[in-house]
Structures are given as C-alpha cells and as structure tokens.
Symmetry: D2
Subunit: 391 residues, 4 copies
C-alpha cells in the first residue's frame, strides 16, 4: 500500500508537472490532474492548456497556475521550462490525438520527460519517428494506457507471467460503450466532435479511442504480442465519418487465439472494458466497471474471487493499492498509479538509483507504437475483406 510515505523520501520535494492541452471543456486533462495529485508526488506548476491563447490563459487561472508559467504557446513553454532551474520534471500531453506528435517532439527536444495520452499518434510513420526520437533522447516517455494502473490488472499480468494459467489459449477482450449511439457529434459535444473527426482523431474512431485500450490491455496481461488480426470496422450512425463498432479476430505470436470487440453504439453499456483469458491450467476474468475483483478459475477447482488488497492479492497488486480491501478504488486511483510510477522512475534518475521495478509497468513509447500499429492494421484489414494483417 502506498497510502503513507508514498512520496519519495530522499528527493524531499514534489515533482513539477506541466500540461499541454486539458483546458476548459476538456475531459482527460482534468483526469490527469487528479491522477497526478492523488498520491502527492506531483504539483502542477506550468501549462499551455489550450491551442487558443486566451482560452489557455483562463484555464490556467482556473487552476491557480503562476502567471509566468501559464503559457499561451507550447513551444515557449518547452523552452522556458527547460531554462528554469525549477523547471518542470515532466509534461503531460492531453491534446486531441493529431497534436500529440508535435508536442511530444518539442518537449523531448527540450530535454523534458513526456507523459502522453493515447493513441500516441495518428499514423504509424509518426509513431515510429517519435519512438526513435524518444529512444535517442534517453528520456522517460510514458503513454497513459491507464487501465494498466488498476491493481488487479497488474495482478492478472503477474499471474500469467508466473504460469498460473498455464499456456494461454484464448483471449476475449472487449470495450463497449453507448455514448455515440446517436449522432451526438452534431449536438455540441466537444468530446464527440473531435473523436469523430478524422483530421483530429486519426483514421479510426472507436478503434482508436477505445479499441487501442482493449488491445493494450490484452497484450499487457497476456505478456504476448498480437501477431496478426482480421477486422471488420463499421459505422452504424449515419453521417458519422469514422467507425463506431469493430469486430476482430486475433492471432497471438505464441499461438493463442483471441477476439476483440469495440463499440460506441452498444446501447446500455457505459464503459464496458472487459477481458477474459483462458490457459490450459486456469482462466481469469476482469471488468473495468467492477475493478476490485478478479475471477480466477483454476481448472478443476471452484472459481475464486480475488479482491484488491484482500485475500489472494499478490505483491504486485498490493503495491498499486492505497486502501484496504472492501474500500473500493476506481478509475482515478488506477490512473494515479501511472503518475506515482512515473514519479518513481524520475526520482530514481534524479537520485541515481534503480527505480522500484513495479514502476516499470507503465506503458512506454513502444507500447504507444503498438497501439498505432494496431489501429493501422485494423483499418487495412477491414478495407480488404477482413484479410489477416500483421500488427
């Protein structure tokens, strides 16, 4: 449990966070800020919170940013923060997808660690180039596939890695919502607007927005790569410019088989991310909407309900847990775990020590690239009668 003394003791300060994007009307930026705050290892000290300078300024005032660090321009921010003695330790990039690459590049070049929302970029080329830049920079580059921060997701991954499921055979993953079941992008929802706009969201809709999370979760837990996929993307809502539903069959490198379903038109579902993994020794199930339980079913034995920080919880999940079992943690705590882990990685660098190995579970730029390759493969397969396409 990280509840007390979670802050790095030697460093003796909070890390300094900057943010690009996430101003008034945004969703995920506010989530990042709560996530950064929750475990008390970060303080937000700078921002370029909107591409519109005036909106940026007002948004920064909302957040009590010091006026000299409330930037109207991200490039100015990157440079000035790089120059300050007390400059930001990392930048959180929470803009629409199409802007990720340029912002990340600017901060990498300024020598600042990057925390980037997903999908990493809107094209494979951009993603590869950014990964190259990141590798060359030697900087930390985290991608917020936040569902990997849930304690029991990490426990599931560890259980697979330790062979508790045996050889993995089948992986069923899905992420279904209903908030785009009607044409809400025409009703003034900023969220819906940019997510259904190819120029800002990239070549895929549901596949890019939530399919990537499902894909990442599957690879994260199974500890294996999807070698190829066969996909059918579809747009159900008339007039919509990007897919709002996709079905896929997956072949993993190890020989496991899987399915992936993502949808934003599944009437009645709110945020239905769910994964089931079946090996020759055991199966497991986890659902994001009920994240404090993990169903573990050893073949031939009654299924067991492992609960966060409860009986059966392992070290990995306990380390990502704040409060006792039975006191539910949720989406914000899972997201916060990424920020706590990134803080640990940065603090370890500053102090010249090895980071806690658990902190290395945060998805990095390579995982970001996988997500973009996944989107690309899905779109191409669907355009070609669901032919098998390598990821």
């Amino acid at each position: 449990m990280t509840i007390a003394g979670s802050r790095d003791q030697k460093l003796n300060r909070r890390l300094r966070l900057g943010m690009v994007g996430g101003g008034r009307g945004a969703f995920i930026g506010a989530v990042h800020r709560i996530a950064a705050r929750l475990d008390d290892r970060w303080e937000l000290v700078a921002g370029a919170l909107s591409s519109d300078p005036e909106r940026a300024r007002l948004s920064g005032e909302d957040l009590l940013l010091p006026s000299d660090r409330n930037y109207g321009n991200l490039h100015e921010m990157a440079q000035r923060e790089a120059d300050r003695e007390d400059g930001i330790d990392a930048v959180a990039i929470v803009t629409p997808n199409h802007a990720h690459a340029a912002v990340a590049e600017a901060f990498l070049k300024a020598g600042i660690h990057v925390i980037c929302d997903k999908p990493l970029t809107t094209t494979v080329q951009e993603a590869d180039r950014l990964a190259q830049l990141a590798r060359e920079s030697g900087l930390i580059f985290a991608v917020t596939h936040n569902y990997t921060g849930y304690p029991l997701v990490r426990q599931a991954r560890a259980m697979v890695a330790e062979g508790e499921l045996g050889t993995i055979r089948v992986v069923q993953v899905e992420y279904a919502q209903d908030w785009l079941a009607t044409r809400v992008e025409e009703t003034g929802s900023k969220q819906a607007e940019w997510r259904t706009d190819p120029s800002r969201s990239g070549p895929a809709g549901a596949v890019g927005d939530i399919g990537t999370h499902a894909f990442n979760l599957a690879e994260f837990i199974v500890g294996d790569e999807v070698a190829s996929l066969s996909a059918e993307l579809h747009t159900f809502v008339q007039g919509r410019r990007l897919d709002d539903n996709a079905h896929m069959m997956l072949r993993f490198a190890s020989g496991a088989k899987g399915m992936l379903w993502c949808s934003q038109v599944a009437s009645g579902l709110e945020n239905g991310l769910r994964i089931r993994v079946y090996g020759d020794k055991a199966g497991l199930e986890w659902e994001q909407e009920n994240p404090n339980a993990l169903l573990f079913s050893p073949l031939g034995e009654p299924p067991r309900i492992i609960r966060r920080n409860g009986y059966g919880a392992n070290d990995v999940s306990r380390a990502a847990s704040r409060i006792p079992g039975g006191h539910p943690e949720g989406y914000l705590e899972g997201f916060a775990q990424l920020y706590a882990d990134i803080a640990e990685q940065i603090a370890a660098r500053i102090e010249g020590r090895e980071p806690n190995p658990f902190s290395l579970q945060v998805p990095n730029v390579e995982h970001g690239v996988r997500g973009v390759r996944f989107i690309d493969a899905a779109v191409r397969s669907s355009q070609n009668k669901a032919a098998w396409v390598d990821v």
Copy 2:
C-alpha cells in the same frame, strides 16, 4: 403459466412417446425423458434405446418399458409402432449425430412425428434431403435447440420483433465450456469420445456441439438470418481430431454485425451460453446460467432487470413459465417447454384445430438445416483463411 391444466383437455389422454437412443450411459436421452414428463402431456411407451440390442433391452427395463415395446431395432420399432392402434404419437431421436438422418427417415416414412436432437445431420446434403422428406411427409419435425424454450429467450425474441430494440446493430453471442480442456476423450468418457470423433459427430467439434446452439439462439432472438461468416476454428488439445474452439465474425442479412465464440477449453466456464443484442433504441443481455433474468437497457434510461414471470414479463414468456417469479426455473423446464409445445401441435392436429401460436416457436427441420449449413460454412471459412462464406 402452464402449471395447472397444462394437459390438453379435449384429447383426454397423454401423448405417447417413443425414443431412439438414450440408453445406459447416455446424457441427453435422460434429459428428453424428464422434459417430456415434466408437464404431464407425454408418456414414454416404446424405445429402441441403443444400437446394441442387449444394451437396448436392459435400458428399456430400467425405464419400465413394456417388454413388447422395448425394441432392439429402430426399424422394427418404426414399423410396429406405426401398425399399433395405440402406437407412438412421436419419436424422440437422441442418438449420436451421424445416426439422426437414417432414424428420422425411418420414422417419417412410418408416418410418425419426429423430435430430433441437434445438429440435424452431419452434412448439408443429408440435411437438405431430410428437410425435403419432412416437408413431403407433412409431419411435425422438431429439432431440440432447447435454449429456445427458456421463457426469457422467447421474451427477448418478442421484444426484438416488436421493435423495442429498434434496428439491430450488433449481436454478441458465445457458448463456452471447459469440459474438454484436457484430453478427456482418452479417459473413458463416452460423451467426449463420440463428440470428438468425426465419424459420429460430423466435421466439427465445438462448432457442431455448441456453436450451433449459439447460432440458433442468435437467429431465433434477432429474427434474422446470418448471411455470411468469417471463421477460425482451432484445436488446442493435442491429438484431438476436431475443433475445440472457434471464433467467428457474422454479417446478418439486415446489416447487423456480430461475433460468435464457442469453446470447450475455456477453463472455469461450465455452460456459458450468453447473448447480447444492441439496437439503436435499446440493448439486451441474457445468460443461460442465470436464465431467470433478462437485462433490458433502453438507450438513455437505467437498465431494467426483467425476471421470469415477474414484473415486465410479457405474455410470451409467461406462457412458457410454470411457477411464480423468484422460484427459479432452469434447463429442464426450458427443455420441457419444447415438449409441451410439440404436444400442443400434435394435439391440435388430432383434434383438427389450430395450435396455440406460442407453440410454433419450437425449432423445426428448417432451423435444423440452418444449423448444419452454419457448421459447413464455418469449417469451409476456416479452411480458407477465414474468408467470408455464405450460410
């Protein structure tokens, strides 16, 4: 509710049932017998319960069959029963799959109504031929896709038909078990032996045994046909001769999209038949292992839990229900509903009246043919890199 006076009053007798297959060591034969008995419209009076005459005789004695109707040979049975004044009203065919066609043909030719387990046959040609024979005979030919007998499955079908879900967009159906997760066919299990033996089971394993049920359930509830599918069948257990897992993408005639997963190696799952249907007005979910609840989610409203014979239950499901809500009915009652309905159909013919329209929901030979076509399409698609194949 059919609890009292379920028996047809005018006919004033129980219908007479014969059975082929289902002797000692069998599973589904015993289920058919309970199903026939439960609503008191049938009595079992004759049988050829095994292809082995001695085993047949002993099995008939177990069941207290009169010795002159405890047959060692199905052809003798068909002929003798056809000749008796008090001959059987229908025969239940519960042999392994490969024998269905010949047995059904013998009884159709003897003028006896047929109740046949699924899948109808092991080839499309046989299925077509049998359907042709059945049509020409004018006899009743029921195929026991028993999950259609569950009250809330019928309610779901009616709700879709009445437009409560709007235009159907997505159908997710799955049927997963774990009883073949190891090579049990080598351990003396008769059930496992014949179901993994192509000569008795047909060209598919899990797809034929349970995939057909999932497929039938989807077409039954959605009231639409699967136009084509893309499938990947796989055998995970080494040495097994038929598939034990299959993933499919489905395209419905109406434009709806779907997925079907069937597996017999999903560690921890017992009999996980589950369907979810999403339309532009509402979604619904039903699980066979919790059959007394139907989750109905009108878009924009809180999901509602409709319970068998409880608040929100419609006439269709009430008619297939015996006891009040909260008193769970299960697999045997669902199966029994088919027998009650077939009895109604036969009684109506005897009495020269129209049957209760609800009774016509029992799957017939045409649905049996669909099941065989489904198996055939899945096998061919999988052999051809999951190409789209018409069903």
Copy 3:
C-alpha cells in the same frame, strides 16, 4: 447424479401417490405433482383434490385420475385406498394450513405414509399430538420444507457438519417477498385470501408462510436448534389481519447468534430466501433465487464459488443433482428431491433394506413441530415487547 436409473431397480414399479387438496386454483398442489413426476419414481393415482366435492371431481378429471379413485371426500379416500391391494403408498397433503392435522391423522390411522406441506399445523398442541400419532404409527411423515432439497443447501449443511466453517458464530437468514405489499387479499387472489385469514392460516401471516422456511433452513444448515428468540411482528398493510413483516434476533443452543427477517411487503423482492453463516474458520452464503452457486469464504483465502455439480461440489450435493453444472436446476428440482428421497425411504421399507442415508435429509414431523413452535414463540415474543422466548 440421479438422472438415469433414479428409479429403484428392485421394486420394479413406480410408487403410488394420492393427494388431498391441490385442485383447480391451487398453487402448491401442482408443484407437488411436478415434483413427484420429475424423477419418475411416483405416479399420481388417487386424490380428494378439494373440500368441495364437485370441484374435487373436476380437478381429478383434469389430471386424468381414474374415476373410482377421484374422491370427493378424504376420509373415504383414506379408507378405500387402505383397502386396495394397489392402494397408494403415500398421501400428499396440500390443503390450507388449518386442515393439515385432520387429514394427516386420517391417513396415519389408515396406515398410509404422509407427505405434508408446511406449517405442520396451526397450534403447538395439534403439532405435538400429530407428532405423537406419527411416532406411534411407525409411518414415514415428511414435511415439505422444500428448500432443503436444493443440492447446495445440502452441501452447506454437510460443510458445517464437517467443521469446514469451524465454530458457528453468526447466522443471518431472511425470506422477503413483495406480493402482499398491497391489499391483494381483497382483489380475488385465493392464495392471498387464505394466507391472510387467521382461521385458515393460523396465528401468523408472513411468519407462518415464509418465516418457517427461513427458520427451518437455518436449523437445517447449521445443524443446531434456535434456543430462544426475540421478535417484532408487524402488519403494514391496513386492514390486514395477520403480520406481513417480522424481525427477530435468535440465540442458538450452541451459542451462535442470528437474525431472521421475513416480509411480504418488501417492494421489489420476489422470493428472496437467503442465508449467510459465519464460523471462526469460514463463511458461506446461499440465495434461493440463484440456487446453483454457494459462496464459500475460508478466512484468509479468496472466496470460492462452488457450483451445483461443478468443481467443489461434494457427494451430498451431487447426489441431489440431475444434470451437469452450468445447466441450472431450480425450485422444481429441489422440490422433486424430497419426493425422490421419500420414494427411496418407502422403497427401502418395502424391500426390507436400509435407505440411502442421503434420503434421510427430508424434514420429518419433528421438524414440522419445530416450525410450529417457532411461529408460536415469535407471536408470543412480539406480544410481549420482543421478550426472549424459548422455542
């Protein structure tokens, strides 16, 4: 599993059942008939199905009773059946509560085994007298506390008996419904009418109708007697003549403590019988509306979901199970188990052998007496400011 060969082989016939009560418009009589039929060990051959002779006759015709055994009078039935060579082996008494004692006495005196619905009688005096008669007769006297027929209820009892829960500390049992939340006894419901009428139902309403089941279930599973109770009965629906809600605290002989809640005005609950038992080694939970699962929580380990006839099911529950795990059994199967067990007890007597010990789990007249004492104690406690009253 009792699915095949459930019928006693040596006896080589079905047992003969008579029924008193349960004619047109009745509920529980029809349930008893299905229960008797389900496992094929009984045939209904005689009845006095109503206290109204004409209604009795019509009801018997509905059920295809032979006309000479379709009685208008229970005393005539008792005598004539006792005299026949092929007379009934047992009588099922399914009248309203107030008539149980006289009917049972008539059949005991005729030397016929009795299967009586609960509560046994409406007064403790009657109950004691009947128990005395039953003991003197040497006959089998079963009381259909049917929830004891559920496989996992029996498993729970065995687990407690075998010490898997350790010393029992706390027992929480409840049985709540909502069908009497309004004054339905004024709307023509025969069920509601007699159950809220003290002259037919006895001194208690909800306590007698369903509280007794909860009480019986607790004593059955815990294997211990409630020594004393403190109760508050209440009538919420204006004009109702009997309690429709009761709260009780329980002290078990062993020192365990418990609570019992029964209600027929709990809006939204259908048939919510639920029990939770906590010992110093483990806890368990079972709910009647989801009867195929038993939650078992050993202290310090993840809770396990034991499923009927699945992994973790013990011999006791397997013996009361018909079909494989994942194929839900329900209320009727649980009720049928009592009839199968009573058949086994009677067959063993006929054949001069010991019955299968599992069959002896059927509640008998002594358990019936406990139920009546419970009602009496609850009513007296409630009349005396919830003072502790011995049961």
Copy 4:
C-alpha cells in the same frame, strides 16, 4: 460533475488544512489527506500528527510540512495557527476516539472550523457538551461519516425525500467485516489495538467503529430518526474486551421498522456496508463495495439499475460525481466529497454568500451526537436483555 473548476473561483486560493493525529502507522489520517487533496480545494499546511512529539515531527517531515507548522503539541498548534494571518481554515481530527473531544474543544476555542472523525466522543455527556460548544462557537463542525459522500447514497436520500419510495416501511442495514475474526489485537496491529481497547475506543467495539456508520447511513437515507432499539451485543473472540458483533431491531419515529447488524467477525466479508429500504411504492438497495450502482425497484415494475453519473442519476448524485458513468469512483472519492463540501461551506462564509445547498449534506455535530447516543442505547439495551431503549 466537479471535475473542472471545482475550486471556488472567487476565493482564488486553496483552503488551508491542519491535522491532529494521523501520523506514521495510522490509517484514517492518510485517507483524510487524500480526500482533502483530490478535488484541489485544500492544502495541508500544519499538523500535530501524533501525541508523541518525536513521532509527530517525523510524520510531518514525511508530509513535507513546513517545520514551523509541524507541531509537537495540539494546543500549541491551535493557538499559533489562530494567531497567524495565513492560519489554517480548518483542522481535521483523526486521533483515536477518546481524544476527539479535547482536541475539538481546543480548536473550537481557537475559532477554527473542525472536521472530526467518528464517533464524535466516547460518552453522551461529552458529545452533548461538544455540540453545545460547537453551537455557541458558530463554527462549522463536520463529522466524517464518509459514506454519506457517495453520490448514490445522496441520490437514495433524495429519492426517499421526494417520495419515490412512498411511505417507508422496512429498513435493513448492515456493516460486516472479518478483520477481527481472530485476536489480531495481540499481533501488533495498532488499528486493532486501540479499537478493542475501551480506554481509547469507548464503551463499544464493532458498534462504535462501524455500527455507527450503519446507523448514520440509515438515518441519512431515510431522513428519519431511530426512536428506539433493542440490541444484543456479543464478543465472540475470547479475551477481547469489546463487542465484535451486534444485532439490533429498530423502530423509526415514523413507524418504519428495521434491523441493524454489525460484525467484525463475519468470515469472508471485507467492508460489507449495505442498506435496503422498502416503501409502499418502491424499494432500493445499495452496497458500499459496489457503490456505483443503486437498485431501484418500483412496485409492479422491473427493478432498475441506476448508475453513478449514468442514466437515471439525479442532480444530487451528479453534483457529487467527478467522472462519467462507467468510470468507477470509490471510497476515496466519496470521502473527498465531504472535503469538497466543507470547503464550499467555508468559502461561502469567507465570501459572505450562501453555500451550495448540496454541500450542507455533510454530517455535522448533531449527527455526531446521534451516533454517540446510538452507541449508548445499544450498550444499555444489550445489558438489559435487549429491552427497547430510546435513542
């Protein structure tokens, strides 16, 4: 949703929080700190984190408290903070129970708003005196019955208040855990030690620690007071000095009846706080371990699942919600809501305006007194054979 711009705009600063108790090894103090931080309306600037000065100092250093506000003595802290221009706006009291009264008194006298953990005090006399002091001071005095911060608990309360359940008849509330199922107070657990020590915990164990929460939740949701109760407290673990299980029957002022169960020896339960309320129009259920769903069952209609910030969520629950439905919020967010609301109350005072009425739902000193009276009544009833005692 309070996700963006939750901070009061006019005030233009974070409120300043001090803390007494909650140093190294404590549990609830860390929870209060996260709760205060989460919505960004507070900063922790001062503390006397332990009654042991050295431990206090080290604990404050862990939290990066400025050294001149890292106090070794609470009285010094009260005085010095009262004297500072930038002194704390409120103090959070998170000591063991017996110290609450004296600490609260010190800060009230210093003119500082108080946020006190529950139970308020260990005797009714102390509670009454403190309430008197609080009233006279005119200061804000919040008591952290934190479960009232859950959005759907507030929704439930509003639904009852608006008559959606009709006249309330039955209230079933329980709070059961298993962490004291063995004698952990002998194994070095500081939490267990003081909670089972009458000199620090007060006259009750489970009743004071969690029973009070259950009691508060019932009164909060039902909007009615418990007039009297009949209780049986018991200690199951040998050698323990306070109750670890209690059963109670409740009579509400309005005529509703209820039960309350609290236990710390219920093997397998983690933090099982659950409430069910039944009125003559509808029922509802809520469980703390699954806090994002509220089951609402209007009589005669299918039950509806209302989800936090989802379809069916009302203004009250939306106001206490940060992120969209389907993104689970949990214990910390519920706790944080109290801090956000207290901040709103204080900010409104500073700015001379009315607070948002939703913020007034935070339990205050009068609710704290109710909790202490409840403990007292339960103890007295149990000592007197569960006689009815007024609360």
